[in-house]
């Protein structure tokens, strides 16, 4: 069994910062385990990436805490810290995720690597998540964006704002399409083919319907482009900005 510690491939400065934060977090929360998550747990060390930590505690209330810090333990760097009670971790390992908060936590836990873990509980919890999320990755932030935007669309619909609902659901679709294209590594001009392959005929037809494109022709699109270019020119003129900026 490997000992707790920072993953290989990280710079000495990152390792030192991670160890300091882990120690302070352990002292502050009296955690059963403190783990590193996010890109650094996967051995990716980019200077602009946030640091992500998980502390598992014995808090009996079952309340999950999520912190956003610009500085912690004297380390000045953006970080996010999840403080998960054992009851939550146990339910996640036993049953898997059930909503967006638990999905994000499950993903964070799945890739987490123990920093302070005297009982091995942190390591076994991370291993337990493999049943529910086979792949190690860090994409639930994007999924959260899609889900939150779609929820906004449904709320607008429920309030009777039908135009707003359609507009916002199209934005959710745009975010979903971005995720598909990223996963398919589709190149420029390749988007429609990649989407057809990823979604199948029925899914692609639903995409066209959701985007308000069902039955639209290339001519309609060209007209749309021209209208928007004209509108852009008009709006810019209104603001005293050269309309060349959109027409060329």
């Amino acid at each position: 069994m490997s000992e707790p510690g920072t993953p290989a491939g990280l710079s000495d400065a990152a390792k030192r910062a991670i160890e300091l934060v882990a120690r302070s977090l352990n002292e502050e929360t009296g955690a059963t385990a403190v783990m590193l998550s996010g890109p650094h747990a996967l051995g990716v060390d980019r200077p602009d990436d946030k640091l992500y930590f998980v502390a598992i505690t014995d808090d009996p209330d079952g309340v999950i805490e999520h912190r956003f810090a610009e500085e912690y333990a004297g380390i000045r760097r953006p970080m996010e810290i999840g403080i998960f009670p054992r009851t939550f971790v146990e339910k996640l390992v036993r049953e898997g995720y059930w909503d967006m908060v638990s999905l994000r936590a499950a993903e964070v836990l799945r890739i987490a690597t123990p920093l302070i873990d005297p009982t091995g509980y942190g390591k076994s919890s991370a291993e337990g998540m493999a049943r529910h999320l086979p792949e190690k990755r860090f994409i639930s932030g994007k999924i959260h964006g899609i889900k939150a935007t779609f929820d906004d669309a449904v709320s607008l619909y429920e309030r009777g704002d039908y135009a707003g609902a359609v507009l916002v659901s199209r934005e959710a679709l745009r975010l979903a399409v971005e995720l598909v294209l990223k996963q398919a590594r589709a190149g420029e001009g390749d988007a429609d083919r990649a989407l057809k392959e990823a979604l199948g005929d029925e899914g692609y037809a639903s995409l066209l319907e959701g985007l308000g494109l069902a039955g639209a022709t290339e001519e309609d699109m060209k007209l749309n482009l021209q209208r928007l270019t004209d509108l852009g020119g008009k709006l810019l003129k209104d603001l005293g900005i050269s309309d060349d900026l959109v027409s060329k």
Binding site: V63, F88, W98, P134, V154, A163, Q183, A191, D192, L235
Partner: protein, 250 residues
Amino acid sequence: MEIKRQTFLDQALKTAEREASRSEPLFALLTGSAAWGTLSARSDIDIIFVTDRPGVVSYRYYLPELTGLPIRTEVGRIPLAYLEKVLASGYADEVSTGIREQVRNARTIGGARERAEKVIAAFQALKPKKKLLGEYLYVAREALAGARKSLSAGSMVDAVLQLDTASKNLWRLLLVAKHSVGVQKDKHEIKAARTSLGEEGTREYLISRRVGDVDQESALRSLQASGRVISAVLAKAGVNPAILGAVGEE
């Protein structure tokens, strides 16, 4: 399903009391749909404790599955110094943008009421940064160029997504420049357009955003189609689509 506002308020006050026993805030705010909006089966309770202690921004989640509370509740703890920093320097990242929207739409539910009202008013008066203008213009121009390219390549979906991005950014540019209204989230854009652009302008806005006249039935069809696509995308990403929830349920 009828959702009772009083049920939300009762739970919000109880949770705020419980959180205050951990550490008393300067004042407590209720935000989101539980504060002012229309409640739905998807609504939850969002509370913010503004504290006088320097430190980090944190959120505590009371999930029904773990805490026994009937409604999902989120309690944010935000240092007053952080809010003052956001007010002084504008907002830049995801966290401060979210907080700005929460505070400007909040109502006070405890603590120093006068101070709370002053903070809410300051956030409501916060003007968007003018540097947004260049960003909107740049994105709109790139998107229009991208749409032209996609159309030449016969990529209709890509073209329409680029066109939508262009029109969104052009209208946001206009809203900021002419009406000093900054829009961060899509759900606020249409409201800002209706409030600022007048009848004729709103009509032009809706047409160029490709929504025009939408009735309940066509909106539901559009939402259901979007829901099917998003479910398929989630499943493909190895995520259980059930987290999306159903659309159009009573």
